[in-house]
């Protein structure tokens, strides 16, 4: 199946439409809430939480013996929340740095989860197969009720974000100050963390424990490159997330044996790379171009200043000098001389140059200009 075929099928094929809608909604909520995680410098929180959710899935299965998605995800939610608040507690009550606390919780919960999964798989029960799909996710198992749940959670998250926008922004930027204004920062913090956990949990079935954090981080990191407004960043991250979901699903559906979760993550990462290189203000490419251009510009002006110094020793400024005179000054090339002629700063005549009036005044004002730009 080619990509175009996929987009045709999108409108006719029920299963594909369900899955695409699911991954799109998932991308959107992850992008939106991931922006908050990234700006709080809690990028790895998502990783720890998603891994912490694994034992919850296993325990929920052991207790109920059924593979009902909602119950398994409820288990994931509980153990994800326990993990998240454990991390919070560890950071505030002990002297551990946050990365240590995150790493500890991640490996502890994941290890325990893996232990339970292997135990379950050894059980003489045919029902246990397929729990390991929560490790790497399996978008193909999404059914309408799953997607409905995703839409519902996303809608609630959207309402909460819109409602508490001002409080979220304040907490993210300056939580001590938020405190002095009378806001209960603990409540706001718990609210944000709760919804991040929720977003992770509903993504587990599609993307899986291992790659889930990329869904939170990649769209947000990409969006940050293009904007300097929090609102635009959150919106853009949601958009990039949704697009990655749909496009990742399309690629994986059009090829055999490409599992959807990793492809979605790769598409999102592609956005990150493109954004880091091509963003007009923060991108590496334009930064480098601007840097080179500025250096050339400065070099040209230094040469002009040197010429100005020579020209000043003569009564008339347009007195011609040989180019050779510039030899002990390394800041010129044939190209830069031509460029200066283009700027009408100098006139070139075979092996000689002379300053024009324009070049003379330009050189006079050079220092003032340079400092004014600052």
């Amino acid at each position: 199946m080619s990509i175009t075929e996929y987009f045709n099928l999108l409108f006719t094929d029920y299963t594909l439409r369900t899955i695409s809608l699911g991954t799109a909604v998932l991308g959107a909520i992850c992008g939106m809430l991931g922006s908050f995680a990234v700006l709080r410098k809690q990028s790895l929180l998502g990783d720890a939480i998603s891994h912490a959710a694994l034992p919850g899935i296993a325990i929920a299965f052991l207790i109920t013996g059924a593979k009902d998605t909602n119950i398994l995800l409820l288990g994931a939610l509980v153990s994800g929340l326990i993990g998240a608040f454990w991390i919070r507690g560890m950071i505030s009550k002990t002297h551990l740095k946050s990365d240590t606390a995150l790493g500890l919780v991640l490996s502890l919960f994941f290890g325990f989860g893996m232990l339970l999964l292997t135990y379950i798989q050894k059980q003489p029960n045919a029902n246990q197969a397929g729990l390991d799909k929560y490790l790497f996710g399996q978008a193909a198992t999404l059914v309408e009720s799953d997607v409905l749940l995703m839409v519902l959670v996303t809608a609630i998250a959207l309402v909460v974000v819109l409602l508490f926008w001002k409080e979220f922004k304040l907490l993210l930027f300056d939580s001590d100050y938020a405190n002095t204004l009378g806001f209960n920062t603990k409540f706001i913090d718990i609210l944000i963390t709760f919804f991040i956990v929720l977003a992770i949990v509903i993504g587990l079935q599609t993307v899986g424990v291992v790659l889930m954090s990329a869904m939170l981080l990649a769209p947000a990191a990409a969006a940050r490159q293009w904007t300097s407004s929090l609102a635009v960043m959150v919106f853009l991250a949601a958009l990039i997330g949704a697009f990655s979901g749909v496009f990742g699903t399309a690629i994986s559906a059009s090829q055999d044996n490409l599992s959807t979760g990793p492809v979605i993550v790769l598409v999102a990462s592609f956005f990150v790379v493109v954004s880091f290189v091509f963003s007009p203000t923060r991108g590496l490419l334009f930064k480098q171009i601007r840097l080179i251009k500025n250096r050339r510009d400065l070099q040209l002006k230094k040469t002009l200043q040197f010429m100005y110094g020579i020209a000043q020793t003569h009564e008339n400024i347009d007195h011609p000098h040989t180019i050779r005179i510039l030899n002990n000054f390394q800041g010129f090339t044939k190209k830069s001389l031509r460029k200066m002629e283009e700027n009408q700063w100098i006139l070139l005549n075979k092996q000689q140059w002379s300053l024009t009036l324009k070049g003379f005044t330009e050189a006079q004002n050079l220092f003032n200009q340079q400092t004014q730009h600052e």
């Binding site: 922004k169 993210l172 407004s229």
Partner: protein, 245 residues
């Protein structure tokens, strides 16, 4: 003097882990003074402000603002944190940061409107930053960032201002601009408490001073207590040599 008491601190003690950072601080700050808190590094100057504002939970002690507990008087108090305490790469503009000063009076959920925007623009004008209102905060210089923080506190239209090292890392012109605003606040009857490092400028800028080194060494009018004796007690070295008068 029959001045009202703006801030009263009783038996305030703060500790991180086992080590006390502030020990049994009693402090009475009269209304309308411009007060410096001075002391060596680690003396607990910032901690004192944070404990008064409830950002740090004290082990013991109480704080009253105009005779009532601080928590009931929040609206009377504005805070200017250390410039370095936030991430200036946060995606927002100067105006937006100043608008945050209005959030407290708005309360939960309610959005700022035209009235709040007008107040924020006025505050930006007061600190000479109006032309930078749409500027990305990461593009501001250190001095400009400090002015933005000051403007954010001015928007709160409080009676008492707490400032944590507002002169740190700013150039001379910003320092003069800030001190002029602080003096204006005092003229308007406001009380201003500033964590301050530069001992040389204390007599010039402030009329009230508190010497702090875990314990309170002295507090009172600059003309009465800003002397070598107290400086020596606070800093532990002979300040006759260090401060040339």
């Amino acid at each position: 003097m029959t001045q009202k008491i703006a801030i009263q601190v009783d038996d305030l003690t703060v500790a991180y882990n086992y080590k006390p950072v502030l020990w049994d601080i009693d402090l009475v700050i009269p209304e309308g003074v411009l007060m410096a808190i001075v002391g060596p590094n680690g003396a607990g100057k910032s901690t004192l402000i944070k404990a008064i504002l409830g950002i740090i939970e004290p082990i013991a002690g109480s704080v009253t603002i105009y005779g009532k507990p601080y928590k009931k008087q929040r609206k009377l108090v504005a805070y200017v944190p250390q410039k370095g305490s936030v991430d200036w790469d946060f995606p927002t503009t100067a105006l937006d940061v100043v608008m945050m000063g209005t959030y407290g009076s708005l309360g939960w959920i309610k959005r700022p409107g035209q009235k709040q925007k007008k107040a924020a623009l006025e505050a930006l004008e007061k600190v000479g930053m109006l032309s930078f209102k749409s500027r990305q905060i990461s593009q501001l210089s250190g001095g400009q960032q400090q002015r933005i923080f000051l403007a954010r506190a001015l928007v709160q239209n409080a009676s008492i201002y707490f400032m944590d090292e507002p002169f740190q890392g700013v150039d001379a012109s910003t320092e003069i601009a800030i001190i002029n605003i602080l003096k204006e606040l005092r003229k308007a009857g406001k009380t201003v408490v500033v964590v301050h490092h530069d001992l040389q400028t204390v007599p010039e800028y402030f009329d009230w001073v508190t010497f702090l080194n875990v314990k309170k060494i002295a507090t009172g009018a600059v003309k009465d207590i800003f002397n070598d004796d107290n400086l020596t007690k606070t800093y532990g070295i002979n300040y006759k040599v260090a401060v040339n008068k």
